[in-house]
Symmetry: C2
């Protein structure tokens, strides 16, 4: 295959959506420039409004520094209220459609975007194909755990709000392959998010998924309750995209609210204020742990190509990390490993 | 009705499961004794092993202090692996079955238990009837918000893991009646837990529930994302019992993990340790906010009687608060108000 060849001999080529997200194009372009300090043999297609992107790249002296960045002009933007099917036909000049087409045409190995999750997922699924044996692509998010430098992958974290049990089994398989190959975890532990640890607990879907996972050759550790998500008990946690979205946003809200409530109470008197200053580094460290910019992007797994979604409010660090993730996927041949060909 | 009469002229009578929960019977009995300091015109049936309960009551000098506590002997205990249907027939001498039968026979106005949620819910539903117009009883949990002394009611927080949209509408109605009558909130704001705020977001059930709630006469404020649960944006939040359980346990886990991570980092050097001591009151206040013992119990709403479930690890404060909740339900005639007779 052409792609296999490319992987060994040629540069790894990542297309990046310069226009998606709240802090585009500035932070996106900054991330693309900075990643060259971390990675050799890389080429980036920056997809966006040429005049804006070019001016910004000049500011970073990208040409003088010999960074291999090529601008792909894309003058259109998909709006939130536009249907992806419509956009693919009618907004061929949008950065998402152009970027994904580069991947489809095998001009690029992967695509990174901070644009709308819905548009990115739908356009990806329509333009790129699903991998053999995979019913639904899945949004896979890495979360911090209480164990230093250990992560847990939550999937589906928002792509498919209505799921069959068999999808959950496939999500588990994809998460397992990811954590083993990219995060280098030996025989990752797979858990099923459920309302109790006993094997008969759950709703219709999780009860059936429990059976499927028990009979799979994955390292299935059983049901995991929501209080243990960050406890480090599992490396991969599966649930439907509705529950996954609830979990992610609940974690985000709790982190924010707990800090907020503590801050308000600490401000109440001078002693606490002083104490607050002294413990500030601990707060900063913890905030960093929950900062998506430090973690990078969430890949859509199960597609016949690599697409990484980054948070809409991402700064350059998230862009940099997401590109590095893409590179790692290509180098580790993740796509081939995710293919699910059942005997 | 006999009950209505009782409410105005007679004592309010609450049956309490002396044997359920991890800290039974000591903390349960302590709670029952202490509640007499807060409430007149109250009688308690303490349901449990007579010899144990009597000895404990003597320790608290309950007889000398003239507390109206009557022991109802119940020698059996329902085990976790026993089916409720079986237990109702074969363990008539268990504290849950005996306590619920007191309510059924209108000997008591309500029942409080820290026993297994599953057994309590199933036995309650079988022994007591559902209220007219209510398809499923619901577990309703009060959560703290970032606004001082303001709570949000989450229902279903774990009773029904598979729900139809119509159940969610009924949950909303019950939560509304509760917050209006017990928490004295004027026209409570009802939100639907969902993956996005836009009205077309969600899975099959929430999309349909959105329609039903929009057409109801409740004060429906639309979809609420999981990051806003504690933000005080709504007084009542509805979801299915699977999602509700995930949210509750995730909040519990996050509170615990964030405190744990901060503590570990604060211990790292002497300055932070000192700072930690100074801000400790703020931590204590926040912990108190998330302490179920301070909040009390979670009622099962929609039954033809009042049943309040308290956390398995509850101490006497939760028992005391749950009994006070029961008293408030009776005084405010909550049961009659929850009846859903559609025009």
């Amino acid at each position: 295959m052409a792609e296999e060849n490319k992987k060994e001999n040629k540069k790894i080529i990542i297309a990046v959506d310069a226009m998606g997200g709240d802090r585009a194009p500035d932070e996106i372009i900054k991330g693309c420039v900075e990643v060259f300090g971390l990675c050799d043999n890389l080429k980036i297609f920056l997809v966006g409004k040429e005049e804006i992107v070019a001016r910004k790249l000049d500011e970073y002296k990208s040409r003088e520094l010999n960074f291999d960045i090529e601008i792909i002009d894309a003058q259109e933007v998909i709006l939130n209220n536009e249907s992806p099917t419509w956009a693919i036909k009618n907004k061929k000049e949008s950065s998402i459609v152009k970027g994904l087409n580069l991947v489809k045409e095998e001009e690029a190995d992967g695509f990174v975007s901070a644009g709308s999750t819905g548009a990115l997922l739908s356009c990806s699924t329509i333009l790129l194909k699903r991998l053999p044996g995979i019913s639904r692509p899945v949004l896979a998010t890495l979360l911090p755990t209480i164990n230093k430098n250990k992560f847990v992958m939550l999937l589906d974290s928002g792509a498919n709000v209505d799921c069959k049990a068999i999808y959950l089994e496939q999500f588990a398989h994809m998460g397992y392959v990811y954590m083993k190959n990219i995060m280098k975890i030996n025989n990752p532990r797979v858990g099923l998010i459920n309302v109790g640890t006993e094997n008969l607990k759950g709703n219709i879907v999780t009860k059936e998924a429990y059976e499927l996972l028990s009979n799979s050759d994955l390292n299935f550790i059983g049901n995991v309750e929501a209080r243990d998500i960050l406890s480090g008990i599992a490396d991969v946690l599966v649930c439907d995209g509705f529950v996954g979205n609830i979990i992610l946003k609940n974690i985000e809200g709790m982190a924010k609210n707990i800090f907020g409530m503590l801050k308000n109470d600490i401000k109440k008197n001078i002693f606490r204020k002083l104490g607050g200053l002294l413990v500030k580094p601990a707060f900063v460290n913890l905030k960093k742990k929950f900062d998506y910019n430090e973690i990078g992007g969430a890949p859509f797994l199960g597609l016949n190509a690599i697409v990484v979604k980054i948070h809409g409010a991402s700064d350059y660090r998230a862009v940099k990390n997401a590109i590095m993730q893409c590179v790692s996927f290509v180098k580790n041949d993740l796509k081939e490993k995710i293919k699910l060909v059942k005997a």
